[in-house]
Each structure stands twice: as C-alpha cells, then as structure tokens.
C-alpha cells in the first residue's frame, strides 16, 4: 500500500518476523505507523485510502485514532519491538556514554534553533562520551555535521527511503546496534528514537532547547510535555520511563507470526 510502509525497513522487519523473505516484503493491506506520534498513527498529510486499516503501535494510539475519525486502527505494536524480539542477544560489551538525537524534521522541513547553545548544554550535562546521531539530511550538511563533530562522535543510521527507493532495510538493525552500545539515550524532544533507546535498555533523557520546525504546531509539542512529564528532564526515573515507553510501543500487544500474516494480508504469501 503506501510507500511509508517501507520507511526504515519496517515492512522488511515484519516480513522477516513472519518467516517471509525480508528482502522482498509483500504488499501490506493497510498503513503501518512509521513513527511515534500523538495523532492517529499516520504521519501528517499521509494520503489515506479510505477503508484500509491502520496498523498502530499502541492501544492509546488506537483509541485516539478512533476519536479522530479513523475507526479502522488495529494495534500491532511497533516493528522495532518485533526486531527486539527476533534479534539476537544484546551485545555483552559494556554500554558507555550517551547517544544523542538532535530534533529533526523530515526532508521538507527546516529546524530553527541554536545548535551551538544546544551542544554546550549537552556537553555540560553528559558525563561520558557522546554520540550524536543526525538525521540523514543534516548528516549530509557539512556545516551542521562539523558543529557536532567538535563535541563528539557523529553518526547517521541511514536513509529511511522514499517511494520504496533507496530504502535501507537494515536501518532499524543499525539503530538497535548503536543503541545497545550506549548507557543513555537523549534528545531535545520526546521522539521515536528516545522510545526505541529506552526499549533497547538505555536510560532516557529529554532536555535542551526543543527547537522548532518551520510552521510547526507548537501546542502539540507542549501537549507532549504535559502528557509525559515523567520522560522529560536530564535524568528521568528509568523504571517509570521504561514502563511508559513499552506501553507506547505496544509491548504486550505483539501478534504471533500467523496472526500478523493474516492481519497484514500476507496469509497467502
């Protein structure tokens, strides 16, 4: 269905979990939620073909989708959790430092804010080595990359893909491998990466200049802070944070391969 199903190799991860060829996931009969959000599970502006199901991460999102006029939401849990479940054992190497995700938009959006001030605040807060993970378009911007390289290691998990082109099917695996090397995961916004990091065993933190996107709906950002104060700050309680994060990712709701195949329309595949 929508090419967003292939973002970050989500469809590939689910195909692998279902025992199908992860390199060539069959067409999904509906829309996969491809990032954590506080709306109906679909990204803003996703063209929606009426009558098709949305496969959302959490029961909370399903309820919200219903209230927003999207009654066909089914809770599957985040593909990242399926990866955690089907992936190998965590590396025995000791975790060290912080993986820090500066807030980003997507390709068509521009973030406004002071990267210098943010980096100073991060350096003052973090005690260990810092890995900055930049979104691919910022990673390609030499000016921005150079700023962060002065304060730590700079990486990029890959390109999420667009219109099924240049999709990096190993995106989530790369991200998981990096997360498992770090003790902390942090960002200036509560975001998908912080959730993934927490699920992968990192202690989360959300602090620093939140920065803003062009034409961003700032009340939504404020709403997120009000709704999850337990996840904000330089050192939230890790146990509480983990419990909240796992619920947001749909832990406990993951389907068996057979059920998932039938749900996604892959039963005959």
């Amino acid at each position: 269905m929508h090419h967003g199903n292939h973002f970050y190799g989500h469809a590939h991860v689910l195909a692998g979990y279902c025992g199908l060829d992860p390199a060539d996931p069959p067409r999904i009969d509906g829309y996969l939620q491809h990032g954590w959000n506080v709306v109906d599970g679909l990204g803003a502006g996703t063209p929606y073909a009426p009558g098709l199901p949305i496969f959302v991460w959490s029961e909370r999102t399903r309820r919200r989708a219903w209230s927003m006029g999207r009654p066909l939401a089914t809770v599957t849990g985040a593909p990242f959790l399926y990866l955690l479940r089907s992936g190998g054992e965590p590396s025995a190497a000791e975790r060290e430092g912080t993986i820090w995700y500066p807030f980003h938009g997507w390709e068509g959006q521009k973030v406004s804010g002071d990267h210098h001030r943010l980096i100073d605040e991060i350096s003052a807060t973090e005690s260990g080595p810092i890995t900055f993970c930049l979104y691919w378009n910022e990673y390609q911007d030499r000016r921005i990359r150079a700023l962060y390289e002065r304060a730590g290691r700079v990486i990029c998990h890959g390109y999420r893909g667009y219109m099924r082109m240049r999709t990096d099917p190993g995106f989530l695996e790369n991200q998981l491998a990096e997360l498992r090397r770090h003790r902390r995961v942090a960002s200036n916004r509560l975001s998908t990466a912080v959730l993934y990091g927490t699920a992968a065993g990192c202690e989360p933190a959300v602090y620093g200049d939140p920065m803003y996107l062009d034409k961003e709906d700032t009340p939504t950002a404020d709403r997120i802070r009000r709704e999850w104060p337990e996840l904000h700050g330089p050192a939230p309680d890790p146990a509480t944070a983990r419990e909240i994060v796992l619920a947001e990712l749909g832990d406990g709701h993951l389907a068996s391969p057979a059920e998932l195949r039938a749900m996604l329309g892959w039963a005959a595949a």
Binding site: D29, G30, P47, A49, P50, G51, L52, P53, E59, R62, R63, P71, L72, A73, T74, V75, G252, H253, A255, S256, P257, A258, E259, L260, R261, A262, M263, A267
Partner: protein, 522 residues
C-alpha cells in the same frame, strides 16, 4: 370420554403449541401416584400420558377438535362453565390461564380464572400454574406485538394490558390473597409453555449467577425464530445483573389450597433440560458450593404441532430413567465456576484487550477446541464444559468469527470484514498452526433485526469507503500516468534520433529563457 361443559369451540383447534417439553414432564412425573389431576388448558399429549401413569387424569380444553384427539377423561368447554362438582388433588395449568376461556360467555381475567381453578382443588390440593411475564426476554426481543396478533384466538389480545401479576413476588402475593399460598416458585426460560430452564428466584439472587446466566443464554439461544435483538445477551445480562427473575419469560408457581399438607412437588434451586432431553438439577451444598446432577435421561419427541392428533398411551414408550439415576461424565459433580467464555471473548474484543483476548483464545483452543464458546465456562485459566450433553462442534472458532462479524461487535481487527480472514486472524491469535475452514452454510444464530441493522450500516460504510477509495486510486493513477508520460518523454529524448534530441534541447533552452524573462519582470 368427553364431557361437554358448554361454551366449547366446535370448529377451532389451537394454533399454538400446547404446554410441554422435558422439564415440565420431569416435574409432573414427581407427583405422587394414585391422585386425581385436572389438566387445565392445552398440554402436550406426551405430558398427559406421563401424568396418566397410575393417576386419575381429566383434561379441560375449550377446543372440541383438540378434545376429541385427547385420551381419557376430557372436559370440553369454557372455564366459566367448570363447576366444583369434581374436586382434584392437583390442578395443572402449565399453559397459563390465557387459553381457558372460549369466545362464549364471560371473559375471565387472570384473578377470576385462578379463582375457578382454586375451586376445583380439594382442600390441601396443589395448583401448578405458569404465568407469562409480559416484560420477559421473549417479549422484549419479539418483533411482533401480542396486542397485534391476528390468530384465531386473539379476539381479546390484551398482552401487557392484561391483569396477570408482573413480578414473582406480586404473583406470590396475589395467589396468597386468593387462598393459595405459594410453596415453591421458579422463573422459566425460554418460553412459558415449554421451558428448558427453571431457576428459583432466591437462587437468582444468591446463587452462582455467572453459571446461571450462561444457562439462561443457552436456553434462549435456539428458542425464537425472529428477534429484535440477540436474546442470549439480554437473558444473560439480566441474570448477571440481578434481574433474572423479573425478566424471565414466565414464572411457575406451586401453590396449595390452605395450609394442609397435600400432594406437592418441590423445585430444586435450578433445573434444566439439555437438547437431548436430559434433565439436570443444580443444588446447593452446605459448604456453599453448587452441585449438578443428572436426574433423568430420556428421549422426548418433538411436541405435536397445532392440530396434531398424536396420542400417547400412559405408561408406554420412552419411560424415563428413575429420578436419582446418574449419568457418568462431567454432567455430574460440582458446578464449574466461571463465566461464559463467549461473553468473556466478546467483552475482551469490545474492550480491545488484545492480550487477554489472545490468552482466552489460546486457552480455549488448547483445552476444548471442539466446544463452542457458548458452552464453555472460563474461570481464570480453567476452561470447563457448561453442558456436557451438547454435542461437540468442529467449527467452534468459525462460530466465534461469525458472531463477531454478524453481531456487529467491535473487535481489535476492524479492517477484517470477511469471515474466512477473521478465522485466520483468530486462529493466529489462538496459536493454532492450521487455519480451520470456514463453514459453507451460515451458522445458526438468532436472527436479530438489530444485528441486521448493524450489518446494513457496516455494508453502507464499506460501500462508501470503496467508492471513496476508488476515487482516491483514480487520482493516484492520474498522477502516476503523468509521471510515466514525463519519464517516457525523457527516455525518448535520450534514446531518440539526433533531430528529436536537438528539438528537445531547443525546447528546454526556450523554456529556460522564458522563465528568466518572467523572473526578470517580477
């Protein structure tokens, strides 16, 4: 021998089935032998035959053709013509008082009818009377109003405008006021004339309500042809919420004329008849637990239809197993605890509680894969068959899929709208490795108007979605076609002949020059 009382109906045969069924038969067989019994109103010949075994039985009916088809002593006429010349030890009126008066003479109301029946009793005699509840489940789900009936006996279709008591306690008070103190009472499902479940009102207050609700649901499930809404949910919810006695289709009262000990029957806390006619009692134990025991196991033929002249000789055919004889198997022993699995599954589906729903499905398919969810009690992780006399069904999971979709229930997979695919999803959720086949024939389920409305709404929604989706794809297709057209032009430009490429390059240059000019102007 027929005695004509007066007021009889020479041309009319009763159109609706007479009172009968295995449960009434079971109760009547417990009456002492050697007594005189008056059976007032239309009763099944099987029931009359069972009573006539070593008892002196007289029937009272208003229809002459029906009277002529009955064996033994028959009084034919309208109730007001019954005199107290003959007195009986027991008067059986399991059909109620609604079919005792003919069009001739006074039209007795409920209390007047009871008075006539009372006069027919010897002091200490017993009246077995069924009273229909006009607000019973059977009425609430009935698409047809009794007040609009066009049948030949509906010359005065009072329905809920009648005078019969409307609650079990008021019924007891009314009978008491007529000098007929009530010795025992039971609420009856699914139909007044042919109950398969009787429960004492006290038991409905303090008994094992979840299990009793499951029995009520099972009793009403196959009983009504067309319904306004699924009677299973209404009957079960009423019992669970403490309104079982008030919403039962009827009440059976055992009343005695004066307080002198006479022939009577006791009613157990609950008693039900399975589909094969096996009668099972539920009794309370001193330690507060409940026991079920099979008390009679017999094959009861279908009741004769209107005008059926079948006769059964007393003491012949299918003699019941004596009371107290037990059947092997789990029908006998402690009443399993827990709530009906089907209700738990529907509850979990409505609450979108996927983890619990999967746990229920997995536990069910592991423990009792061939038993439909409407015959399983679940208590924590324990799954028990509710009525072991009900035969297994190989398509138990398919039945659930059917119930979820045709019942209009919300469930966690709203995008799945066809039964085979929902079966596949449920099988996956239940941890089954193989998907059961979808049944070819539609599964039996109450044919509810409300469910029809839901199905119609669902189809309208799906049609609207499909039309919108078709427009959506049309727009997408146009976009893709435009992209393809551009791509084809580009391919032609790079692979075409030199002249075409030169012309194309010229076009590009011209377009760029135009754009520069425009920019310069703005």
């Amino acid at each position: 021998m027929i005695t004509m009382l007066g007021g009889e109906m020479p041309e009319y045969a009763e159109e609706h089935a007479p009172a009968g069924g295995p449960l009434y038969r079971h109760l009547l067989e417990r009456l002492p032998t050697g007594i005189r019994v008056l059976i007032a109103g239309p009763h099944d010949t099987d029931l009359i035959g069972a009573l006539a075994d070593r008892r002196d039985v007289t029937c009272l009916v208003r229809s002459q053709p029906d009277a002529e088809a009955l064996p033994g002593n028959v009084l034919c006429g309208t109730l007001s013509k019954l005199t107290d010349a003959d007195r009986y030890d027991v008067v059986v009126a399991l059909d109620g008082t609604g079919r005792l008066c003919s069009p001739e003479g006074p039209q007795l109301d409920w209390a007047e009818s009871v008075r006539v029946l009372r006069r027919a009793l010897r002091p200490g005699g017993t009246l077995l009377l069924t009273v229909e509840n006009e607000l019973g489940v059977h009425r609430l789900v009935d698409p047809h109003a009794p007040t609009a009936s066009r049948t030949g006996d509906a010359w005065r279709p009072l329905g809920e405008f009648g005078t019969a008591p409307g609650r079990p306690d008021r019924l007891a008070a009314a009978l008491g006021a007529e000098g007929l103190p009530v010795a025992a009472m039971a609420a009856a499902w699914p139909l007044p004339g042919r109950p398969t479940l009787l429960i004492n009102p006290e038991t409905l207050r303090y008994g094992p309500l979840d299990a009793l609700a499951a029995f009520a649901s099972a009793a009403v499930a196959p009983a009504y042809d067309q319904v306004l809404s699924d009677p299973r949910r209404l009957a079960a919810a009423a019992v669970r919420r403490g309104l079982g006695a008030e919403m039962a289709p009827a009440w059976l009262a055992v009343a005695q004329r004066a307080h002198r000990p006479g022939p009577t029957i006791t009613l157990p806390p609950a008693v039900f008849a399975g589909p094969s006619g096996t009668v099972t009692e539920i009794v309370g134990m001193p330690d507060g637990t409940w026991l079920r025991r099979v008390v009679s196991s017999c094959v009861v033929p279908l009741s004769p239809g209107p005008g059926d002249s079948g006769t059964t000789q007393p003491g012949l055919a299918h003699g019941p197993v004596a009371a107290g004889v037990t059947q092997p198997g789990s029908s006998h022993g402690p009443l399993p605890a827990g709530r009906l699995l089907e209700e738990r599954l529907l509850g979990a589906a409505l609450a979108h509680d996927l983890p619990y729903l999967r746990r229920l499905l997995t536990g069910w398919m592991t423990a009792l894969p061939m038993v439909p969810a409407d015959n399983v009690l679940v208590d924590g992780d324990r799954f028990t068959v509710l009525d072991p006399t009900v035969p297994d069904q190989p398509d138990a999971l398919a039945r659930l899929a059917h119930t979820l979709l045709t019942g209009g229930y919300h469930h966690p997979w709203p995008g799945v709208t066809d039964v085979p695919r929902l079966i596949a999803v449920l099988a996956g959720a239940a941890g089954l490795t193989e998907v059961p086949a979808a049944p070819d024939d539609p599964l039996p389920a109450p044919d509810g108007r409300r469910e029809h409305e839901e199905q119609l709404d669902a189809l309208r929604r799906r049609l609207a979605d499909a039309e919108a989706r078709s427009r959506f794809f049309e727009v997408e297709l146009e976009k893709r076609e435009a992209e393809l057209g551009r791509a084809k032009t580009q391919i032609a430009a790079f692979s075409g002949n030199l002249g075409f490429r030169a012309a194309k390059a010229g076009l590009v240059l011209a377009r760029a020059a135009r754009n520069r000019l425009r920019k310069g102007r703005s």
